[in-house]
Symmetry: C2
Subunit: 196 residues, 2 copies
DNA sequence: AGTTTTATTAAACACTGTTCAAATTGGGGG
DNA sequence: CCCCCAATTTGAACAGTGTTTAATAAAACT
């Protein structure tokens, strides 16, 4: 009927991402359909494919924002704590866990979702985010416990996986960060003790 | 045309599970369709719904077998190591990781898949499996480091999550257990040191 | 033999992501 | 000022999904 709308109402990438974010955060990746997003926008399904190659593309454009938020928190943890000792390490770990539990759906979308044809979009963001984590932790680790970097590479990776395991579980519970703050601390202390 | 087959060729739960397992292990939960399973069996899609309420039901009936295999390995780890010290703990952790990496698809199906309407089937199996883990670890922990059980409850849970994080990542890589055995050991040593 | 139960089928329903020819609008060049 | 072209949107279509259901035939029981 109206194959093109007035230019002032034209669809923009930003507007799509806005609505998409809302729906992805509320319902997760699988239960959001391109048709649903288009409907909410008042457009037809096909129009989305003019602005994004596919669902995975639209999705990853959205999560990129979350990754940079996490990056910011890690930088903050580093700059907040004056010297790179044990306290900073504790803060980094805690920041990671807190981010996950205060943004459960985001964390799930960033790290836990894996669909065919999504990897090629999300891998870069993930690697970038881990790099931030690595650099921050490595600096502290070399001060606390002056091992060579080669050994740290593996150690930091294992630490990351451990934190990841913790967060990944509580993502799917309905407990808040505050509810499990003590447990998070126990986890962190376990790792720190193992580090010394 | 032939609304019922000769009794000697009747479809059985076991036969369905056999084919389903094959397909689920090969392609994962999402990429296996009821139509595909039925086709492989030479039956129509609807017939599966006579034997199982839904896809999730069929699926969980299949994973139940994997859970009991894991249970067996944990029991073996306990009975193999003579006394419940640090060595047994190490063996328990290693057994868990090894199981995950030598049965990647199974582990994924058991722990990592979550679909709407699947939880009600899989929760019991998961809890049962964790209970085995808990009892085994608790016994060792009380010997090594005689803390009260109340404290152990949280500690063991956190250990489980940590191991889980490690395995969950490598499930999706194409590295074998042997490839990352050294890294697994590093992870385990980190946890054990934190425990002392 | 007649009746009931059990197992199976095909078709249908309501979804999904994606593609594409067609159609209309807005802007730039002549 | 007008025309054409490029940009943008549409709706139908395709191939797929899990699940439901009436019909149906074989088997089991009486």
């Amino acid at each position: 009927m109206t194959p093109r709308k007035a230019v002032e109402h034209e669809l923009s990438r930003e507007r799509i991402l806005e609505v998409a974010r809302e729906q992805f955060v509320q319902h997760g990746y699988r239960d959001v359909s391109m048709r649903g997003i288009a409907k909410e926008l008042g457009y037809s399904p096909g129009s989305l494919y003019y602005h994004f190659r596919e669902k995975a593309d639209l999705f990853s454009a959205m999560t990129a924002e979350d990754f940079s938020q996490l990056d910011g928190l890690l930088e903050e943890a580093v700059s907040t704590s004056p010297n790179p000792g044990r306290d900073r390490l504790e803060l980094i770990f805690l920041s990671f866990i807190r981010f996950g539990l205060e943004n459960k759906r985001s964390f799930e979308l960033m790290f836990l979702i894996q669909e065919p044809g999504l990897d090629c979009y999300t891998t870069q963001s993930k690697m970038g985010s881990y790099e931030k984590f690595f650099i921050a932790v490595n600096e502290s680790l070399q001060v606390i416990n002056n091992t060579d970097l080669a050994k740290n590479v593996e150690l930091i990776w294992v630490l990351f996986l451990s934190l990841h395991g913790f967060v990944s579980f509580y993502i799917h519970s309905d407990q808040s960060f505050d509810d499990i703050a003590k447990l998070a601390d126990l986890h962190i202390q376990l790792l720190l003790r193992g580090l010394m």
